[in-house]
């Protein structure tokens, strides 16, 4: 489990978990679970398209995830956002299906893109993933205050001259970045789980963001580590364990919250 060929997996998965835990906190705070669910699907289509024309899959994922983020926020200004997200999501997925059918990938490769493949990380992929991860981290830290303010008190943020639309675009781009790096490891369908489960669990313990964010990152790391270990031992898909552990953590978080309900805080 800790042999040489697994080193890449452990490194990238940990980076992915740190970013998912951090970005995910804002996903839960802003109530953007649907967005966090949609963008990874775009990344999946990008990966399939890039493989088709012989490009680096990570580049393809980046282009599609960023394109999806811009499409959702731009169209969302004129249409209703849940309708726009739902439609963008299925269009991107449909392109994924088209690219897959045009190419000659085996079903197992499709499966790996959708549900994650712990052995699928090559040494060449580690550096881009770490760079993208660092970029997302910088983006979150730089935008921390306006993001937090516009998520919690949108009117006050507007009064201070922070454009809600600009924040929406900024945040969608951060989610896109975080997504692009994570799909090869966790899979398109399950990155969502990692971005929502651990942060929601962490929010049940602490309302204070400076304590909830580290806890959320910690939960995400634990989730990914358990999932990789379990997947390695049992030979079952890693995504299954990621969702299972996230759900269990969330259940524990809700249980804790219910027990300590004397605190007057707003649940996620």
């Amino acid at each position: 489990m800790f042999s040489d060929f697994m080193t890449n997996t452990w490194i990238t998965a940990s980076v992915v978990a740190i970013i998912a835990g951090g970005v995910g906190f804002f996903v839960v705070l802003r109530g953007s679970s649907f967005l966090a669910h949609a963008l990874p699907h775009g990344a999946f289509a990008g990966a399939a398209g890039a493989t088709l024309i012989g490009m680096d899959p990570i580049l393809g994922m980046g282009i599609f995830a960023v394109g999806g983020a811009l499409a959702v926020t731009t169209l969302g200004r004129r249409g209703r956002s849940d309708v726009v997200i739902a439609l963008s999501l299925v269009v991107m997925l449909a392109f994924g299906a088209l690219f897959l059918s045009l190419g000659s990938q085996y079903s197992s490769e499709v499966f790996a893109l959708l549900f994650g493949q712990i052995l699928g990380v090559s040494s060449a992929e580690v550096l881009p993933i770490v760079v993208l991860g660092a970029l997302s981290a910088v983006a979150i830290i730089t935008g921390y205050r306006p993001l937090l303010l516009s998520s919690v008190l949108p009117e006050m943020a507007a009064a201070r001259g922070i454009s809600t639309y600009a924040i929406d675009v900024y945040f969608a781009l951060v989610v896109a970045l975080a997504t692009a790096m994570s799909v090869p490891v966790v899979g398109a369908l399950l990155m969502f789980s990692l971005m929502v489960g651990p942060p929601a669990a962490a929010r049940s313990f602490f309302a204070d963001p400076l304590r909830a964010i580290p806890l959320s990152i910690g939960f995400a790391l634990v989730t990914v580590w358990i999932a990789i270990a379990a997947s390695y031992q049992s030979n079952l898909p890693v995504g299954f364990f990621v969702t299972l552990v996230s759900a269990v953590l969330y259940g524990i978080g809700r249980g804790w919250f219910a027990l300590s309900s004397r605190r007057i805080t707003v649940a996620a």
Partner: protein, 286 residues
């Protein structure tokens, strides 16, 4: 049009099943958009995929897998509290994330144990051309059930969807209406999961309905337009997919699900042209 389009048995089956599914999706979709339950519809589709992928393992028809899991999921959502299932709700997200995890597991077993190597593509992205014509009566029956539910509770559903306070004043059994609608939604979503795949069925549900509601504010008219757009998109998608065999050197059909979703999306974008005109007349922008 290619020669042999209407002579091909799979195409005929696809046209019939596609039309039935589109009618149900268009009708139910209008209320889904009005009630802002796009996320719930999508979640039901993804949870249906658990059943669809388990069906391969159990050796039962995929349709039963989808429908069974969909109805079960709808019941669960009602217990959890459907009013919260609107995309902001984390609990729904986590439950259906877990559903996807189980889908991953079942698909993995489908491939390794049952050697159904195309299970992933088939469950997630659908394959209208390989549907056996023997399922037509079943699809017809389930479509009829879904349409009947909507027709029977139409007035109640309309009032409840547009104004919940008014519904309460008129003593409408809101909870019953909500449950019945969820069952109809589950049926619509799972039927379209069979045709264009679990992860794409949201397109047929939301796309035509959202486009129709941009064109008219009258719900009954919108439902008719949505059904027409849905049937039109599905048939056009089938035709494009059939004809695409000869494109770009030929030898390969574009996936029918992609063609249908692309047509639906273009229809939605086109409906946006009518929007500024309407928005000036009425402030309600959908």
């Amino acid at each position: 049009m290619s020669v042999g389009f209407f002579q091909s048995q799979p195409v005929l089956t696809a046209l019939i099943v596609g039309a039935l599914v589109s009618i149900v999706s268009g009708l139910v979709g209008v209320f889904t958009v009005l009630r802002r339950q796009s996320f719930a519809g999508h979640a039901l589709a993804d949870l249906g995929a658990v059943g669809g992928s388990a069906a391969f393992l159990l050796g039962i028809s995929q349709l039963w897998g989808f429908v069974g899991a969909g109805i079960l999921a709808a019941g669960l959502m009602e217990v959890v509290g459907i009013k919260r299932v609107q995309g902001r709700d984390v609990a729904t997200g986590i439950i259906f994330g877990l559903g996807l995890g189980f889908t991953a597991l079942f698909l993995y077993w489908d491939t390794t144990i049952k050697n159904a190597s195309n299970a992933a593509i088939s469950v997630l992205f659908g394959s209208l051309f390989v549907i056996d014509s023997s399922v037509i009566p079943l699809v017809l029956a389930l479509s009829a059930v879904a349409v009947a539910i909507i027709v029977i509770v139409y007035r109640w559903l309309l009032i409840d969807s547009l104004n919940q306070d008014l519904a309460a004043v008129r003593h409408i059994p809101v909870r019953l209406v909500g449950i019945l609608f969820l069952v109809a939604l589950a049926l619509a979503v799972e039927l379209s999961a069979l045709t264009i795949g679990a992860v794409l069925s949201t397109a047929l549900l939301i796309g035509p309905a959202a486009a129709a509601l941009r064109l008219t504010k009258r719900v009954g008219v919108a439902a008719v337009i949505a059904m027409a757009i849905a049937v039109g998109s599905t048939w056009l998608g089938i035709l494009i997919s059939f004809d695409s065999y000869a494109w770009f050197g030929g030898g390969h059909n574009w996936p029918v699900s992609f063609c249908i979703v692309a047509v639906v999306f273009i229809a939605y974008l086109l409906s946006g042209i009518a929007l500024p005109v309407r928005a000036r007349r009425a402030r309600l922008v959908l």
